[in-house]
Amino acid sequence: MKRHELVLSRRKLLGAGALGAGGLLLSGCDRLNSSPGFRSLLSNAEDMHMGSQRLFNRNALAREYTEADMSPRFRANGNRGVTDAAYRQAFAGDFADWALVVDGAVSRPLQLPLAALQSMPQREQITRHDCVEGWSAIGKWQGPQLGRVLEMAGLLPSARYIVFHCADSFGSTPYYESIDLVDAFHPQTILAWRMNGQMLPEEHGAPVRARIERQLGYKHAKFVMRIEAREGISGLYGGKGGYWEDASDYAWYAGI
């Protein structure tokens, strides 16, 4: 055997060392990633995000744009349609016999037909929709303010969260989302039934989509059938306050 074959070259040694270190780093990160303790440590940051932003943005309005700024075509994401039979029937009838249910911790539970939502004072806003994936689209939304609807229903003092129950589902798990009262009574939080000057299309959540303008797209529940006021969210579905929060551990506060 030749001498130079016995001696590991420095380059090979360095290369092997780097590969080994890289492998250790990767498996170490993956192990940390699946450790409940480490995850709960990281998720403390969510409280810091919400706390620091609420310090400054409690009443701040999301930026509004002009028609010239709008995306030529607004991307639809998540569920673009609903298979539920009751929904299909309502859709076929242009939601004429459909009504939005408002219940839970309220003194006057409501059933609001689409016409009732349309005859309430309206807010129209051109805003930027930011998806958690990274893309953005600018569109025009119109509908009554959620705060007005909640005032009609009369929130009980115990109410802390507003939950949107939706007609769409992933497999057999229904979509839902929840917000706190700061966002629920924010002037730009509307129940949009109109988008870009037309009736809200199915792929964007007909008949009604919640607009939570200072948070990411997954908070903007589509196909809203029922609005429930609740004291807490821990007793609902997976207990984390939303479909993606339960399914993949997305942050409940999605302002960042």
Binding site: C29, R75, W135, S136
Partner: protein, 271 residues
Amino acid sequence: MSGRGGELIKRHRLSTRIWHWTNAVTLLVMLMSGLMIFNAHPRLYWGEYGANYDAAWLEIGPVGNEGRLKIGSMVVETTGVLGRWEDQDGNIQRRAFPYWSTIPSRYSLSDARLWHLAFAWVLALGLLAYLLWSLFNGHLRRDIHITGREWRPSHIWHDVKEHARLRFPTGEATLRYNVLQKLAYAGVIFVLLPLVIVTGLAMSPGTDAWAHWITGVFGGRQTARSIHFIVAFALVAFFLVHIAMVVLAGPFNEVRSMITGRYRLPKEKGE
């Protein structure tokens, strides 16, 4: 005796050493979790909006059986590394950045965000604390401040030539940063790190609501996202040069000085 080299002297302050290693870990986590976040939507745009129907200036993805990186009109085949690669189980994946470069190694946008947004606090608060402390203890004025003489093109050119010939200072001259080092460190501390933090904040809809000007300065959220990505790779470039210089200057002595603070002065030629 002084200036001859060979003796062990105090080099880096404790604050510098703590910040250096905190940053080393934090920036690596930010980069790798950031690449995973990019994988969720591997396209970059200019302007306020940008999604699949809009034109991207950069895109990484699979086209047929190839992985491709597109920048403007330039297309590079990157099969095996970007856009189409084999994962740790031997399965073909069609995501942008490969498993060995991301946290976590298997696709998860929510987990990557968990890491990225938690370590963002460490990065931002760490930089703030270090800047304030270095202002207070004179580190910035003494060691990073670039003097009028050093700004002269002839001086900078002289340093560039010395570096290109791999001719490094010896003895006590090694204790002072040369102008290229100062430019690199000042560029990281005052330009790249603040820019990567502010463009990160600009992407937050909650921040945008109370500070329109942050996104406004960059000319839109998608522009801010593009700059965030570019600056991240500028930091990678700094890291590579930084490691190369450490290796050339004597890795044992350099790493020791950043851990224990003690540095052995390189001997002058002919000693």
